[in-house]
């Protein structure tokens, strides 16, 4: 059985509907990215998965149980890093670790935190406050905090959106490495097609809102391990990339205006498995 099963998910505000009939599944250890234009409700979906928002219709089942409210089983990396500015790097992570393992003593907490600080390459910055860190380092702390509680699933809300291209690349590499090492299940929002292709096993494409939905599911067949510096040499790379960009530029609005084959109430999104 899949780790996560989502069926008929919808979010409406009064009569206005953000998205309708969203359904997908996620396997354990899978990395799924969701791409779509602003306003299609990506963040809302993530918030529902996190338990921070409630769906108007539909169910989310994780490990055979319907989720209701937030849980330590689902770690979140927030868009704006959301570190507590009065705590040091170590204490920000310790705050999460202490929430997870309440009975742990100080030494246990510290050892565990240190492991994840080292994992994201922040060794030496343990006692710095978030304000003393660069944007990239802050987001690394956010990632370390989410990984440190060892959740069943990790939810990443456009974690690299505010970073410059160079920093983003480095952290993406780190994320690839950490995910491979921990075989973490990850659901991630992104705007960046290349990022999705580097990280994801499957890419969910959302049509434009209102009444958005998952229009296509693209299986990313590029072999692992992937390297940012040579992934684009793969002969399949540009086929997939063009397909994704075409979707964002053209097809995302066609689905909405009904000019394409996507039915008003799609039960199964189109699965695209691009091979050379």
């Amino acid at each position: 059985m899949s780790l996560l099963q989502i069926q008929g998910l919808a979010r409406r505000y009064g009569t206005a509907s953000v998205f309708e009939d969203v359904g997908f599944t996620m396997e354990k250890g899978e990395f799924v990215c969701i791409i779509g234009h602003s306003g299609c409700g990506k963040t809302t979906i993530l918030n529902i998965l996190a338990g921070l928002d409630a769906a108007s219709a539909g169910t989310v089942i994780m490990d055979g149980r319907e989720i209701s409210g937030p849980s330590l089983d689902r770690g979140v990396v927030f868009q704006g890093h959301a570190l507590l500015p009065w705590l040091s790097v170590m204490n920000n992570i310790a705050f999460a670790v202490k929430s997870r393992w309440r009975q742990w003593n100080r030494i246990q907490v510290q050892t565990h935190c240190q492991k994840f600080i080292d994992l994201v390459g922040l060794t030496g910055a343990e006692h710095k406050k978030p304000a003393q860190l660069s944007g990239g380092m802050k987001q690394r702390v956010g990632i370390a905090r989410a990984f440190a509680i060892q959740p069943k699933m990790l939810l990443l809300d456009e974690p690299f959106g505010a970073l410059d291209a160079l920093t983003r690349g480095t952290i993406q590499d780190e994320l690839v490495r950490i995910c491979a090492a921990t075989s973490q299940t990850v659901f991630m929002i992104t705007h960046d097609v290349d990022e999705a292709m580097l990280l994801a096993d499957r890419i969910l494409l959302m049509s434009n809102g209102p009444r958005a939905g998952i229009a296509e599911v693209v299986v990313n067949a590029l072999p692992r391990p992937r390297q940012r510096n040579d992934i684009h040499h793969d002969p399949r790379y540009y086929g997939i990339r063009n397909h994704l960009v075409d979707f964002l530029v053209n097809r995302s609005k066609l689905y909405q205006s009904g000019q394409s084959e996507r039915p008003a109430q799609p039960t199964v999104a189109k699965i695209v498995n691009l091979r050379p």
Binding site: P70, S71, F78, A96
Partner: protein, 278 residues
């Protein structure tokens, strides 16, 4: 660094100018209000004859201040206590009223800040009670509490509660949604959330409210003690007015200013200690 030095020099210069002008205007025969006023007659033959200004010279005040400083804590009965004793009474009352107000305002502010419903329900009361001059409560306090000392503590309580209450509520309501979401996704319980997330996040705003409160409390205690009498720096100033000792009044005023500054700077330092950079 250079700018600081120049500023300090300017301060010294302004102070000397002020003392100089004061000195010149209180020289014997410098005219002024003393020679003709009935008040001068009360001050003694010299003043009445115009040989001496009724208003003390800076040197007079300096001598008096030195006397007070040399022996601030003597107690020779209800009408003659050292300025230190009087200040201690006032500070004790301010701190008692202020701490009681903090005990009430911070939890209540938390409640108001967390619940829009409680906020709406209590808002009319706060709006009406806040602008009431604290001294207007004095007769009511004297009637119900039947003790002048307790009544002045109550007046301090009622005047210092509002800034703390409003700032706490505002600080708590303004805690960033992201931080609360972090606590939520980590399944942090309500008590831990209050102490580990909301309190540190709102602490700078709360402390700012406390700083405003302690400032107001120090303003009000002088007036309250003038009203109820007995002890305290406010009573001291009023008593010296009855004694017609302008020099002592000036010493009292100076002491009020200095203590007020210390209180304000203490709270400012505490605010800095809990401040954070986002």
């Amino acid at each position: 660094m250079r700018e600081r030095l120049i500023a300090a020099l300017l301060s010294v210069l302004l102070f000397s100018l002020f003392i100089g002008a004061w000195h010149l205007s209180t020289l014997p025969g410098a005219g002024g209000p003393a020679a003709t006023s009935e008040y001068a007659k009360l001050l003694g033959a010299d003043a009445a004859a115009g040989k001496k200004s009724a208003f003390p010279t800076p040197a007079d005040v300096g001598r008096k201040a030195w006397q007070h400083l040399r022996d601030p804590f003597y107690d020779k009965g209800p009408n003659d206590k050292g300025i230190g004793v009087q200040l201690a009474w006032s500070i004790a009352r301010v701190l008692a009223g202020f701490l009681l107000a903090a005990l009430a305002a911070v939890p209540l502010g938390f409640l108001i800040g967390m619940s829009p419903l409680v906020y709406r329900a209590l808002d009319p009361f706060i709006q009406v009670l806040k602008p009431i001059s604290p001294l207007a409560w004095m007769p009511l306090a004297l009637f119900t509490l039947k003790d002048s000392g307790v009544s002045s503590v109550f007046v301090i309580f009622i005047c210092s509660i509002w800034p703390m209450l409003i700032n706490t509520a505002f600080g708590v309501a303004a805690v960033r949604r992201d931080w609360l979401n972090v606590a939520k996704t980590l399944e942090v319980g309500p008590v831990r959330k209050a102490f580990a997330v909301i309190l540190p996040a709102a602490a700078p705003t709360i402390l700012t409210g406390m700083r405003i409160s302690v400032g107001i409390a120090w303003l009000v205690i002088v007036a309250a003690e003038m009203l109820v009498g007995g002890t305290g720096i406010g009573y001291f100033v009023w008593n010296e007015w009855n004694n017609l000792s302008i020099a002592n009044i000036l010493c009292g005023i100076l002491a009020i200013g200095l203590v007020g500054m210390v209180l304000d700077q203490t709270l400012a330092a505490l605010t800095r200690a809990v401040s954070y950079v986002e």
